[in-house]
């Protein structure tokens, strides 16, 4: 198909799926099959659907997603490694009228940024966190992350992660859901169309708890890294289905609206 054909709709046809307005029409630097693109698109779609484009401040992290601000057409701050929740806290407190979200990977959020995410969640900062978990450090060449599965081979555990020496993979959603300030916490996956659509619903709820001033919104997205897993994009999707989802169960871990506890944790808040 040429560009001319794309631009010319046939009479009686409607465009049902295209690039969201908040997503810049530019080739991403991600590898073929990398799920960051899907997560970026869903973030951009939700910003459009919720009408937040003019008042959003994104906080991007260190990792492959460092260039988030090149792809999503909103104001952005680049945080030091793992410190995105701390930077977002400052942004949100200085400008409480803005919509603030962070976009972090597992090497950033679950390792070096563990203290920041735990305390930001516990304080119930009015921010949304998109946590993309691909069980490996992607940008630096596939080192072991805290979320690397037992037996998974990476460049720093070439024999496979061993539980006795390196511990078990951290399940972040379960941990975050236990903290007091969290309004919504869920885990979705980007391996199939059904899971992608469900993940977008979770992301919408995590964004809405902030716009309603209810508390901290957290969504973990299971994603693939075909390059550092040393597999094809299709095999990477299969691995998420077969290996990651059994260890990282999908679902909602905390939803204060559904629990009926809404409002009890924001006394003296906004």
């Amino acid at each position: 198909m040429t560009k001319a054909q794309q631009a010319a709709p046939v009479a009686g046809e409607e465009l049902v799926f295209s690039r969201p307005a908040s997503m810049v029409d530019r080739a991403t630097h991600y590898c073929p099959g990398c799920h960051h693109g899907i997560a970026h698109r869903m973030v951009a779609e939700l910003i459009d659907e919720l009408g937040l484009k003019e008042r959003t401040i994104a906080v991007s992290s260190i990792g492959c997603s460092v260039f988030l601000y090149n792809y999503i057409d909103v104001d952005a701050v680049e945080a030091p490694h793992g410190r995105a929740p701390a930077v977002a806290t400052g942004v949100k407190r200085a400008r409480p009228d803005k919509f603030v979200f962070t976009y972090q990977g597992d090497g950033d959020l679950a390792s070096i940024g563990m203290a920041e995410i735990m305390h930001a969640a516990n304080r119930g900062e009015r921010m949304s966190v998109i946590f993309v978990n691909n069980t490996v450090y992607g940008m630096t060449g596939g080192q072991m992350a805290p979320t690397t599965l037992i037996g998974q081979k990476t460049t720093t555990c070439p024999g496979g992660r061993c539980k006795d020496t390196e511990g078990s993979p951290i399940r972040m959603s379960e941990i975050i859901a236990q903290l007091g300030g969290v309004a919504f916490c869920a885990r979705g996956s980007l391996d199939s169309v059904k899971n992608i659509r469900q993940a977008k619903k979770y992301m919408r709820q995590a964004f809405e708890v902030q716009t309603k001033g209810q508390g901290f919104g957290f969504v973990e997205l299971l994603a693939g890294c075909p390059t550092n897993w040393r597999v094809s994009a299709i095999a990477a999707n299969k691995r998420i289905t077969d290996e990651m989802i059994p260890y990282f169960p999908l679902g909602v871990y905390k939803d204060i609206e559904a629990d009926g506890t809404c409002g009890s944790l924001i006394q003296g808040g906004e």
Binding site: M1, Q6, G12, E14, V16, S18, G37, I38, I234
Partner: protein, 77 residues
Amino acid sequence: MSRITVSEERCKGCLLCTLVCPVEIIRQSDRINQNGYKVAEVLAEDMAKCTGCASCATICPDVAIEVWRSKKPKKAA
């Protein structure tokens, strides 16, 4: 009738779209784009089978696919 358009500048040839198409009409072409990826394509004769479900566009990590769906004809009065 529905159809999809694949942006050959954006496609990285990951072929995730071929995995999710319910009528299996998307395939890898022999054409190589500017970045060296073999892009996905739908043959013109297969396009009539497209259901417009947008599964391929949903899973495409590079937002390279646009989906067009013909409007349902209004019921006769």
